[in-house]
Symmetry: C2
Subunit: 360 residues, 2 copies
Amino acid sequence: MKDNYCVIMGGGIGSRFWPFSRETYPKQFLDFFGTGRSLLQMTFDRFSKIIPVENIFIVTNEIYAPLIAEQLPELHPEQLLLEPSRRNTAPCIAYASYHIRACNPNANIIVAPSDHLILREDIFLQDVQKALNFVKENNALVTLGIKPSRPETGYGYIQSSDTMLGDFTKVKTFTEKPNLELAKIFQESGEFFWNSGLFVWNVNTIMAAFSKYLPDISARFDLGIGKFNTPEEKAFIQENFAYCLNISIDYGIMEKAENVYMLCVDFGWADLGTWGSLYDIGGKDEQENAILRGSRTMMYESTGNLVAMSDPQKIAVVQGLEGYIIAESKNVLMICKKEEEQRIKQFVADLQLKYGKEYS
Amino acid sequence: MKDNYCVIMGGGIGSRFWPFSRETYPKQFLDFFGTGRSLLQMTFDRFSKIIPVENIFIVTNEIYAPLIAEQLPELHPEQLLLEPSRRNTAPCIAYASYHIRACNPNANIIVAPSDHLILREDIFLQDVQKALNFVKENNALVTLGIKPSRPETGYGYIQSSDTMLGDFTKVKTFTEKPNLELAKIFQESGEFFWNSGLFVWNVNTIMAAFSKYLPDISARFDLGIGKFNTPEEKAFIQENFAYCLNISIDYGIMEKAENVYMLCVDFGWADLGTWGSLYDIGGKDEQENAILRGSRTMMYESTGNLVAMSDPQKIAVVQGLEGYIIAESKNVLMICKKEEEQRIKQFVADLQLKYGKEYS
């Protein structure tokens, strides 16, 4: 148990949830469901049930340090690993791995995004425990693959093989987001699983993979050997992090490594990637409207809408709308057809041009 | 000039402009156009150019006294005539008439709503002056009739006759709001004019009309003779006003009296009765969207909408909407088809039932 570590990646900017998420307040810090806990807090709460709290690290951009300190006051400052620039998941995971190895050279690590939804926590924790036990004994990079419940085109997929090691199957390939036709074939085949972005490995296994597949990143961090987990770490990172390649762990390592195994899981998982995904998983009223966070609403002749008001006292009175996102937060009201939500990034860019940064 | 008086009626609740107007903040107090002056302030400013400021009275419900004092700090408290209960325009005008007669038994009075829009002020003031001069010499109840510019079904009409007294035509009938077919006939005939609710008369002429056509109201106010314009007036009104019949001046006097004359005018008048009327008169962007008060907006594939945001810093990003009212004020966001706006009163009633008075 004391060898088990958790790395929560909390540096995303989540622009697709604008205007709720802002560059200064990304989605992992939001309490989407009005439960009183943000996605990040829920992620932390979940892992703290099976990982010693002092072994949980959060890697994030340094601009979010105050927000994290506010949301997770139980964290010691040393549990925050701050990136001075944005560099995708591979450098983020490399940094955490070097730090953790300096704390404990036998560490088994689960790496998790900070903004996913997990509905069946007991099953999730069993699966994570099983994977941590597995990587302790096996030189394997483990990914958790979600059994698809629908032909989703918004996720990447993992193809399994027949080669098993206990409950773990050797991974054949990672695939990009498929079109609908292909997604249907994937789902029917029983061979393909959603790529959850949840990874489990021993620290030495991932370090070896970095050396082999991302030697530039590895070499850069090797310059800091002896400084990790010491007062010198911060200055070293400030000086070197920006030189790392901007590359994802999937593309940089998982798609190339030979020792990738998957645990097939089914714990009610969703990547809250878009307003539409929130609509899909959220409860609906009789008119199929999804009302987020218990927002106050009066809906007349309105169906299939998603309403999200950041102010719990504010009411939305809506007449005659079908299939829209109505999202209101601070200085922005957005009304947009659900099927057009991929344009939100463009709206934000247009707004910046016209009115400056205050809305993004 | 010193015999000329103005009565501004400022007691309406303007529920059709919800959520901008509230029971505690009706539309006459709102700055609809972002000019920095409310409709009431603009009405006051207008009359103060031809009427001595101390001769301008505002009749309103007592609950609005603090708002008026705030918006028109130049008014003396005695210029506010406060109604302890809501009783329509006839009792309101009777009260003002009794008060003004006690100030000046030769007073010529223009009675005006506080929430109308007048675009050509110079013409307006000339017409008002002409009417004030007319009623000084003639025993006439004068109404200003607006030359119709379209077959409007939202206004009452006045039918003129061939009998003229100078520029003033004797009125044949007042009519209710017509249907569209009839409104077209009215406009084409050249005989019918919009009833603006602007009245001009000598104080003795209107007093005589009250005696003849609304003797109950007259008798009630006669009980207070000697008290008007004295410290006893307030207590008298508190005690007696509620006994007055709830009736409009149009129905109670204008439709019945024999000495009603109309001055036909054309000074860019609009009764800002509904969101739709604001849309009709307001400027539009290239997509025929009317953006009120310079609200910040980004409109995509959206046409024929009215957007009104009470917070000037707040932006509305709207995609794929046609023909809606989008109005946001304090604790309410309303999105409603323009053609359904007559249901706003019902929305407010529903809201009260569900959430209490805080939204109405």
